[in-house]
């Protein structure tokens, strides 16, 4: 246990160091080093998860010689470790599965730069997961913003540049609002570390003037992170960003980056603001309403899309709506459902984004539905994995998507408010039908072709680097679906440690 306490620090330092190192390496070595580093980080995070589960309590780690309210601190509990393990695993799979496309999409001289950005993004993700300090959150939020724009523009076609401009502007607005929120919170409390901040807020919550500022601060901060993660009225950057980025980037952006922002928000709610104080505000109701709207609007837009990647991207907008609906439901059950859905969506969406380019590759490199006719027959493996994750996305039992929808339903029942219950049940039903309509239509499309004799498999060069990560993701998906109670138990334990 004593050694394990150092691992969160090591994950951050190691990924920062290898980020700086990668810029000096040639492309192939850079990729190998990226995979090796992700592997080492994954092992470390798994060790932390095992250690924390074994000990049954979270630990904080002082960054330097100055203790809590004066120096920086990071913290590891079950929830942080679980997210770190899952996210690093998904990152590993994305890098491994997407590199053949990377070599097509990128100039050779840019490949080391790409892996530099991936390392820095890993460092930012790790810091945002482990952080116990709201300003550290802001600093690494900036790195996250820049790296996520970087891995988007790296594929230099006009659409990605356009998408990156839009993504960057909205992202910077989000960062700016987050910073304003942090400044107001610091002015109110005089602390940047989460726990002392929460204690001070509990003291000043009785004062109406402070409470007004607190309302504004938390509101601004929430809007900032909602813009960055793509909640409903701010989802407009999603289709182009996810739809045109190179497959590794699309998978990382859709599955990991937006989820990290949401996790930071949940962490701030629990550890910096405090749930009792948060309950006095109305932010939760706004998030609930926007989440439900996002679920419906995202699905309708996905039906309208004419391009498979844009459809999957719009479906992301709907899934982000689910997560915010869970946060808006409140109560332990709501947060558990939201966090569980974060994992489910991360694993499913990354698999979808890593599969669609293979379907496009056998369809004249076109992502349009018209061209994709029969692509599941032309590439058997990609068709199977697409069907697999699409079924999970719809919420068919056995797959992970069903488990999370069930959790949302249970959370709504436990929330004790009949209006919320009715709203959630109707939204879940409607959104599932819409989900099913566009995913099943796509499945039918990729399997309907006049000429069944053209059945083909992946070329040998692609098989191992594609099949291995896809099988890992599929296994993780089934694990979340069949053994959901294990993961949900961990999430409940982690949330209990938050307080």
């Amino acid at each position: 246990m004593e050694v394990i306490r150092n691992f969160p620090l090591f994950t951050i330092i190691l990924s920062l160091f290898s980020g700086a190192l990668c810029i000096l390496l040639p492309g192939r070595t850079a990729r190998k080093s990226a995979l090796a580093v992700e592997g080492v980080l994954l092992l470390m995070a798994a060790a932390v998860l095992a250690g924390v589960l074994h000990a049954g309590e979270a630990f904080t780690y002082t960054m330097g010689e100055f203790p809590a309210p004066w120096g920086n601190e990071i913290r590891a509990g079950v929830l942080e470790a679980l997210l770190a393990v899952s996210f690093l695993g998904i990152l590993f799979c994305s890098v491994l599965a997407g590199h053949t496309f990377l070599e097509e999409d990128l100039d050779v001289s840019r490949i080391p730069l790409y892996y530099t950005l991936i390392h820095l993004l890993t460092a930012a993700m790790m810091s945002l997961i482990w952080t116990n300090d709201i300003f550290t959150g802001y600093v690494f939020l900036e790195i996250m913003t820049l790296t996520s724009c970087g891995i988007l523009i790296v594929r230099e076609i006009g659409r990605t540049t356009l998408a990156a401009v839009r993504y960057m502007i909205l992202n910077l607005v989000g960062s700016g609002l987050f910073l304003l929120g942090v400044v107001l919170l610091y002015d109110l409390t005089g602390h940047l570390l989460m726990v002392p901040m929460r204690e001070t807020i509990a003291v000043i919550a009785g004062n109406p003037a402070s409470m007004r500022v607190l309302n504004m601060a938390v509101g601004i901060l929430t809007i900032g992170l909602a813009i960055k993660s793509g909640l409903f009225p701010f989802h407009t950057w999603m289709p182009d960003t996810y739809g045109w980025a190179t497959p590794t980037s699309a998978s990382v952006l859709a599955a990991l980056v937006s989820k990290t922002y949401i996790f930071l928000l949940v962490k701030i709610y629990f550890r910096a603001v405090g749930i009792p104080v948060l309950e006095q505000m109305h932010i939760r109701n706004v998030l609930f309403a926007l989440g439900i709207l996002g679920m419906i609007v995202g699905s309708v837009l996905a039906i309208r899309a004419d391009n498979i990647n844009r459809m999957v991207a719009y479906s992301s907008a709907a899934q982000i709506g689910y997560i915010y609906m869970g946060i808006g439901l409140g109560g332990p059950a709501g947060y558990v459902a939201a966090l569980f859905h974060m994992l489910v969506h991360a694993v499913t969406k990354s698999q979808l984004f890593l599969t669609t380019p293979h379907l496009a590759r056998v369809s004249g490199k076109s992502l349009k539905f018209k061209k994709l006719q029969g692509s599941g027959i032309r590439n058997v493996e990609a068709g199977i994995f697409f069907t697999f994750s699409a079924l999970s996305m719809i919420g068919i039992p056995v797959f992970a998507g069903f488990a999370s929808k069930l959790q949302f339903g249970l959370a709504a029942v436990r929330s004790g408010s009949s209006i919320r219950l009715v709203a959630v049940i109707i939204a879940l039903a409607l959104s599932s039908v819409l989900n099913a309509s566009y995913f099943i239509r796509t499945i039918i499309r990729i399997y309907s072709a006049e000429d069944h004799a053209k059945r083909a498999h992946l070329v040998r060069k692609d098989r191992l680097p594609y099949m291995l990560p896809m099988l890992i993701l599929a296994a993780f998906n089934l694990f979340l679906g069949l053994l959901s109670w294990v993961v949900i138990g961990w999430i409940e334990q982690g949330l209990a440690m938050f307080v």
């Binding site: 306490r5 620090l9 330092i13 920062l16 160091f17 980020g19 700086a20 190192l21 810029i23 000096l24 002082t62 960054m63 330097g64 010689e65 100055f66 004066w70 120096g71 920086n72 100039d107 001289s109 840019r110 730069l113 530099t116 950005l117 820095l120 930012a124 810091s127 300003f135 550290t136 600093v139 690494f140 900036e142 790195i143 820049l146 790296t147 970087g150 523009i153 790296v154 230099e156 107001l184 002015d187 109110l188 409390t189 005089g190 602390h191 940047l192 002392p196 003291v203 402070s210 007004r212 500022v213 504004m216 601060a217 309208r304 004419d306 349009k368 539905f369 018209k370 239509r441 039918i444």
Partner: protein, 323 residues
């Protein structure tokens, strides 16, 4: 209309029709040589009609969009201004000490010199108390440099065909201001002073206002003036891309490893054996001086790199830019 909708639904399910077809579908390519003149005219008329229709739709959408966009932007700004003014009106008054919020700041001010060995409390704060944040901040610059390198680095992929020759042939004088004798003379007089000032600011970060970020900026601007005065051809002899990335790598690696060591020792309750030195002298403040130098190197190289990339699309000649 109803039947039309049903028909469309089926066409959509069968994949023959997409809702956005009217915008995205280009006109079919026909082999016009085999058509009669009348047919050609007809097809031309059709495609013009379709184009005009698309344009009209797009224009109508744009018009609505611009009105909506302006209105929303104004409303958003007004709301944000209102929210901020409302918050500021409710925060505690400036200059009034609130004992509740003074815990952290009080310790920084009263014990900062003793605990960090730095006369400049701000340096002690950002490089010692809250060094982890600054570790992130120095990597923000590096990230920005990598992004600009991706965007602006000129190679075969992001250049128009034909433009290449123009750049390569005339690049000798195309990018250079160095022929200007006034710039050159004044630059040669000013440069040593600017460099010296930058080094002073950098090295005295722990004793007076300044440090890595500001000193590095001064030195970076000196490098920019240098390259404008003597021309890239001469600065490239030393500042190659390899050199710049190597300096950045060494600085950042030193920063993260040194701070990682301090974090590790501090968290495990061990002594880190870094002498604090005599406050007020150059060699004081423990790690603050070397960290300031590292940050300064990164900032200076980043500034020069940005300038060079924006001006000519590469950092230094090393054979990777244009064959």
């Amino acid at each position: 209309m109803k039947q039309n909708l049903e028909k469309r639904l089926w066409k959509w399910l069968e994949g023959e029709w997409e809702p956005l077809d009217y915008l995205s579908e280009p006109a079919e390519v026909r082999d016009s040589s085999r058509e009669s003149l009348k047919e050609q005219k007809k097809h031309l008329r059709e495609s013009i009609d379709r184009m005009e229709h698309t344009q009209a739709v797009v224009r109508a959408e744009q018009k609505g969009f611009y009105a909506f966009y302006t209105l929303t932007a104004v409303i958003c700004c007004l709301v944000l201004i209102g929210v901020l003014l409302y918050s500021v009106a409710n925060v505690s008054e400036y200059g009034v000490e609130n004992p509740l919020t003074m815990e952290v700041v009080g310790r920084y001010v009263s014990r900062g010199l003793y605990e960090t060995g730095a006369v400049n409390v701000v340096s002690g704060m950002i490089l010692d108390y809250r060094a982890f944040d600054t570790l992130g901040e120095s990597h923000v610059l590096f990230t920005a440099l990598v992004c600009v390198l991706i965007l602006l680095h000129r190679d075969r992929k992001n250049m128009l065909p034909g433009v290449e020759d123009y750049y390569t042939v005339s690049r000798e004088n195309y990018y250079e201001l160095s022929g200007d004798p006034i710039l050159r003379t004044v630059g040669m007089v000013l440069l040593p002073c600017i460099f010296l000032y930058g080094i002073y600011v950098l090295l005295n970060g722990q004793n007076s206002p300044g440090g890595g970020f500001s000193g590095g900026t001064v030195m970076g601007s000196a490098l920019i003036i240098l390259s404008a005065c003597v021309g890239f051809a001469r600065t490239d002899r030393f500042f190659t891309r390899r050199m710049i990335t190597l300096v950045i790598f060494v600085s950042l690696a030193f920063y993260s490893l040194a701070k990682g060591y301090v974090f590790f020792m501090g968290a495990n309750g061990l002594e880190n054996h870094i002498p604090k030195g005599v406050p007020g002298t150059i060699l004081s403040g423990g790690l603050i001086l070397p960290l300031n130098i590292a940050v300064g190197m990164v900032v200076a190289c980043t500034m020069y790199g940005f300038y060079s990339l924006f001006k000519r699309g590469s950092i230094g000649e090393d054979g990777t830019s244009l064959d």
